[in-house]
C-alpha cells in the first residue's frame, strides 16, 4: 500500500518550502524537500552594477542572513581589487558577524525550534505557559540585533558596511551600552543552558553524515579564512574557496529552484553542527555547555544542530563581550575605511553564515562593474542532506503513521534552520555550458 506524506507549506522557517515523502509498504520510494520561492534573479540583475551598489543589493537575498551576505559580498569585492582593510575593520566585522549569529540562533532556538520539543505551535503559545523562557530568548535575540545596529547601522540589511571598511565607527558610549547588554546576555546564556538541557531528547534519526565547514585556524569565528574542510568517517579533504565548484558540484533537480550539492556522491551538511565538528572547540565554557547539552561529536543525529547552535550562541555572547572590552580598552584608532580603487579582477569569498557555508564569487571589469556573479547559499547546499535525513527518519521510525512521521520530518527540516529565500539563489548558470 502506498502512502504519501505531504507538508504543503512548512511553518516556522524562513521562506516557502514543503515536504513530500512517498512510501510503498515500509519502503521509502521518494523524498523531496520542495522549495517554491519565486526566482528573483539577483545574480543576473547585478550585472553591470558598480561595486559600490553590490553589497546593498545582494544583502536583499535574505533578511536573516543579510549581514552575512553583505560581508561575504564585500570580502569578495575587496579580494578582487586586492584591497587590504585594517585590523580594526576585521575585528568589527567579526563582531558584526557574531551579532547576526546570536540573533539568528536565538530566533531559531526559542521561536522556531523550541516549540517543537515542547509541543506548541509557536513561541507565543509557548510564552503563555513558559513566559520566562520566551522572554530570555527574545532578550538574546534583541542583543544580537543591538550588536548589528551598533556596528552595521541597522538590524536587517546593514547600511554601515562598505568596501574598505565602515561608514562610521561606533562611539564609546554606544560600545558601553553594548557591553551592558552583553553582561546581561551572559546571564541569559546560563538560563538558556538550563532550559535547553532540560528539553526532552529528540533522538529518532541517525545516519553517517558528511560535514563541511570553514577552517577557522584555531580561532572560532565566521568571517576570516578561505579554506573549507570536509570530514567524513575519519577522512578529511580540504578545498580552497577559489575551487568551490568542485565542492558544490551541483546537479539540477526538478522540484526546486536549487541544485543539489554532493561530496564523493554523498550529500553533506553545513551549519553549526558541521562547524563544531571540523573545528577545535573554542574554549572550556563551550566544552562544558556541550557536555550539559549531551552533544557528542561527530553526531549522526541532525537534531543535534539545534544543540550546536546553542553552544555557539553561548560562546558568541562571551566572545562578543571580550571584543567590546578590547575595543573600549584600546580605542578605535584607525580610519573608518581605506580607499577603494576598482580594477579588473575576479575572486571568490567564503564565510560561515548562521546556517553554514556561504560563497560569493564575482568578476569585475576595470571600472568596477560586475561582469558575472555567482552566489551559493548554505540552505542550497543542505537541501540534499535534508532529504537524506528525511529518508533515514522514515526508515528508522517504528510508528509509520502519517501524523507521527510528519512531526519528525518537520522537526528535522527545522533543525537545519533552512532559509529558503536564500536557497533559491544557489542555482547557477551551467546548463548552457
Amino acid at each position: 500500500m502506498s502512502t504519501t506524506i505531504r507538508v504543503e507549506h512548512l511553518a516556522r522557517v524562513e521562506g516557502h518550502g514543503g515536504i513530500t515523502v512517498e512510501m510503498d509498504g515500509g519502503a521509502v520510494t521518494a523524498v523531496r524537500f520542495d522549495l517554491f520561492e519565486g526566482a528573483r534573479l539577483l545574480e543576473s540583475l547585478i550585472r553591470g552594477r558598480s561595486y559600490e551598489d553590490v553589497a546593498q543589493i545582494v544583502s536583499r537575498i535574505c533578511a536573516i542572513c543579510s549581514a552575512a551576505h553583505s560581508l561575504t559580498s564585500i570580502k569578495a569585492t575587496e579580494a578582487a581589487f586586492g584591497i587590504e582593510v585594517s585590523p580594526q575593520t576585521h575585528l568589527l566585522r567579526d563582531l558584526l558577524y557574531r551579532g547576526e549569529n546570536i540573533e539568528s540562533h536565538a530566533l531559531h532556538l526559542f521561536c522556531l525550534a523550541a516549540p517543537d520539543y515542547l509541543g506548541y505551535p509557536s513561541a507565543t503559545a509557548l510564552a503563555a505557559d513558559h513566559p520566562d523562557a520566551v522572554k530570555t530568548g527574545l532578550r538574546l535575540k534583541k542583543l544580537g540585533n543591538l550588536i548589528q545596529e551598533t556596528i552595521g547601522g541597522r538590524a536587517i540589511h546593514p547600511v554601515n558596511v562598505v568596501p574598505g571598511g565602515f561608514g562610521k565607527l561606533p562611539s564609546a558610549d554606544e560600545l558601553r551600552a553594548l557591553r551592558a547588554g552583553l553582561l546581561h546576555g551572559v546571564e541569559d546564556c546560563k538560563a538558556t543552558l538550563d532550559l535547553l538541557s532540560g528539553l526532552p531528547p529528540a533522538d529518532f534519526c541517525h545516519s553517517p553524515t558528511v560535514f563541511a565547514g570553514l577552517d577557522m585556524k584555531g580561532d572560532y569565528g565566521y568571517y576570516a579564512g578561505d579554506e573549507i574542510v570536509v570530514k567524513a568517517n575519519g577522512r578529511q579533504r580540504r578545498v580552497r574557496a577559489a575551487d568551490y565548484r568542485s565542492l558544490t558540484n551541483e546537479t539540477p533537480v526538478p522540484h526546486a529552484h536549487a541544485k543539489h550539492s554532493s561530496f564523493d556522491g554523498k550529500p553533506f551538511m553545513v551549519g553549526a553542527l558541521a562547524r563544531l565538528t571540523v573545528n577545535a572547540l573554542p574554549d572550556d565554557a563551550a566544552a562544558s555547555a556541550m557536555r550539559r547539552l549531551g552533544l557528542r561529536l561527530p553526531s549522526g543525529n541532525p537534531m543535534d544542530n539545534n544543540m550546536a547552535q546553542a553552544v555557539e550562541l553561548i560562546y558568541d555572547v562571551g566572545r562578543a563581550l571580550a571584543i567590546v572590552d578590547k575595543l573600549l580598552a584600546e580605542g578605535l584608532n584607525e580610519a573608518p575605511r581605506v580607499p577603494v580603487k576598482p580594477k579588473a579582477g575576479a575572486a571568490t569569498a567564503v564565510t560561515e553564515a548562521p546556517r553554514g557555508l556561504l560563497f560569493h564569487s564575482y568578476a569585475y571589469d576595470a571600472d568596477g562593474r560586475i561582469v558575472s556573479a555567482d552566489v551559493i547559499t548554505p540552505t542550497a547546499i543542505n537541501a540534499a542532506s535534508i532529504e537524506d535525513h528525511f529518508r533515514h527518519a522514515v526508515e528508522q521510525s517504528a510508528d509509520k503513521s502519517v501524523p507521527a512521521l510528519t512531526r519528525k520530518l518537520e522537526m528535522i527540516a527545522r533543525a537545519y534552520d533552512p532559509c529558503i529565500s536564500c536557497s533559491v539563489h544557489l542555482i547557477q548558470k551551467r546548463g548552457s555550458a
Binding site: 511553518a11 526566482a39 546593498q56 537575498i61 507565543t124 510564552a127 518537520e410 551551467r430
Partner: protein
C-alpha cells in the same frame, strides 16, 4: 472590542518585513494580546489558512503565478490589506531593470531549466489587487509598523510621512552629503521614516524606501544637475528599489 483577526504573509522576497515584526522583541507579547494573529506561517504552525481577516499584512513582490493566486486569496479574505516593505509597495530589487528580458536572465541563472520555472516579471501588490495601506521601507521601520497597528486598532487611518528623507536629515543636523561631498544621495526624493539613518552614518541614501509623494522632483533635478549629477545617474539609483516609480507612476 473583540480583537481584530490578523494574517501576516510573505510573497517572494527576503522575509525582512516579517522579520522586522518579529524583531519587535519588547512589544511582541503585547501585540499577541492585542491582535488575534490567525495566520503567520513564518512564526507559527497550525494556523488557519482560510479564515476571514480584519487585517492582512503582506510583504514581498508578486514574482510568480503562485504568488499572484496566493495574493488574490489573501485579498478575498481581508477587510484591510496592508502592503509592507518596498517590494510590496514598489516591486523592490526584483523589479530592477536588468536591461535584458526575463527569459534571458532565467537562462543565465538557471540554465535551460529556467524556462520551466513559474516566473513572472516582478509586480508590486497594487498592480494585482487593491491595496488599502502602504508602509514602505527595506525593511519597514518598527515604529511605523507599531504606529500603524495602534491606529488601525483605534479605527484611524495611519498617517505616514509624504516628505523626503532630506527633512529628517536636516532635523538631525547631519552634514549634507550632496551639497558638501557631491555624493549621489537619494535623500531629496526618497520618502522619510528611517530618521535619515544612512546619511547619519556618512553613507549616501540609496532610496530603499521608494519615492516621496511630496518631493519636488524638478527642483531636486536642478540641484543634482548643478552638482554635475545627471538625471540618468540619479534615476538609475532610484530605480534599484523602486523601478515602477521611474516608469511613470
Amino acid at each position: 472590542m473583540s480583537k481584530p483577526t490578523v494574517g501576516i504573509f510573505g510573497l517572494t522576497g527576503c522575509a525582512g518585513d516579517q522579520l522586522a515584526i518579529i524583531n519587535c522583541e519588547d512589544e511582541l507579547l503585547d501585540l499577541v494580546n492585542l491582535l488575534d494573529i490567525r495566520d503567520f506561517v513564518m512564526a507559527a504552525s497550525e494556523g488557519d489558512h482560510t479564515c476571514q481577516l480584519d487585517i492582512a499584512f503582506v510583504e514581498g513582490a508578486v514574482l510568480s503565478k503562485h504568488d499572484e493566486e496566493y495574493l488574490k486569496k489573501i485579498r478575498a479574505r481581508a477587510k484591510t490589506l496592508v502592503a509592507i516593505g518596498t517590494c510590496a509597495v514598489w516591486g523592490g530589487v526584483a523589479a530592477m531593470d536588468g536591461g535584458r528580458g526575463r527569459d534571458e536572465m532565467l537562462n543565465e541563472v538557471y540554465g535551460p531549466a529556467g524556462a520551466r520555472y513559474d516566473s513572472t516579471p516582478a509586480r508590486a501588490l497594487g498592480e494585482v489587487v487593491k491595496v488599502d495601506l502602504k508602509i514602505s521601507g527595506c525593511p519597514i521601520e518598527k515604529d511605523q509598523f507599531l504606529g500603524a497597528v495602534a491606529n488601525l486598532l483605534n479605527g484611524d487611518a495611519p498617517l505616514l510621512a509624504g516628505y523626503a528623507v532630506c527633512a529628517e536629515c536636516k532635523m538631525r543636523e547631519n552634514n549634507c552629503l550632496l551639497v558638501e561631498n557631491h555624493q549621489v544621495c537619494c535623500g531629496p526624493l526618497t520618502v522619510a521614516g528611517c530618521g535619515a539613518r544612512c546619511p547619519g552614518l556618512g553613507i549616501a541614501c540609496v532610496g530603499c524606501r521608494g519615492p516621496a509623494a511630496d518631493a519636488n522632483f524638478p527642483s531636486a533635478m536642478e540641484m543634482f544637475a548643478a552638482k554635475g549629477i545627471g538625471a540618468d545617474r540619479i534615476t538609475a539609483k532610484l530605480k534599484t528599489f523602486a523601478n515602477a516609480a521611474g516608469g511613470g507612476q
